[in-house]
Symmetry: C2
């Protein structure tokens, strides 16, 4: 990092700033919407969605942390809170030494199934409909390209 930094050009800066601003504002809007209308926090929702995506609603703690890119300590606290509220359960797994499973409970599944229709309608109103199919597909393609770069470091 000793070379002169290659600062962003005005055009690069404009695009990057819009993207970051979108990021901040869309996250805040979706989280507020979930809390107000579905009584789940953004963190609850992220974990419930990740578990719902697995065939039997269960994932090893480590795999769950990796799939949503959370630090283990943060996930551990969040799972403890969700266990208390009965949304997920921990299943220890003594025999193979590869760590506990986090499992969606019936109450957790009810919660995500109740939240989903409202959340989908919000996503449609704020993102899908204003973009239209072509720009949405472009956004998906661009996102995948950056993800590939992130996976390659």
């Amino acid at each position: 990092m000793n070379a002169t930094p290659q600062w962003l050009s005005p055009a690069e800066q404009d695009a990057w700033r819009s993207f970051i601003r979108l990021h901040q504002k869309l996250t805040a809007t979706l989280v507020r919407d979930l809390q107000a209308n579905c009584k789940v926090s953004g963190a609850d929702f992220e974990i419930l969605v990740a578990l719902t995506d697995t065939p039997d609603g269960r994932q090893r703690f480590q795999d769950l942390a990796k799939s949503i890119d959370w630090e283990q300590s943060r996930l551990s606290h969040q799972i403890a809170r969700m266990c208390k509220r009965g949304l997920v359960a921990r299943e220890e797994c003594a025999e193979d030494g590869r760590g506990a499973f986090v499992v969606l409970t019936a109450a957790g599944r009810d919660t995500i199934e109740s939240a989903a229709p409202h959340h989908v309608a919000t996503v449609r109103r704020l993102v899908i409909d204003p973009l239209g199919p072509d720009d949405l597909a472009t956004l998906g393609r661009i996102s995948s390209r950056i993800l590939t770069q992130l996976d390659n470091g």
Copy 2:
């Protein structure tokens, strides 16, 4: 919300999922990179950038909360921590009753100026360069369109 939910089509779902996954992974990667290389948290960085963007490095607490879309209680705790570390200061503003200013200190400015070259190089490597100018401009345009929709509710 009584109508049958209009679930996302497979194409819509693919695009939206890629975008959300990008969101999760890029945030986590940038935050880890800032912490490891620049010794600032993602929250520190977000606030320092917002203050640096104002002409004299100061913003009213309320305006700052709005500009980065944080709940006031979260911002209040974060600013208290940053005051202790000398990165920002609070300036009360008795005469007009419109609330305190948050002000970038010299140490805060040093911190952001030290972090910026590394952060820009990371953003360039992970996003700007892999996309190229056309896709980057498209990403900026799409982001602005969704932001307009968010501003209109």
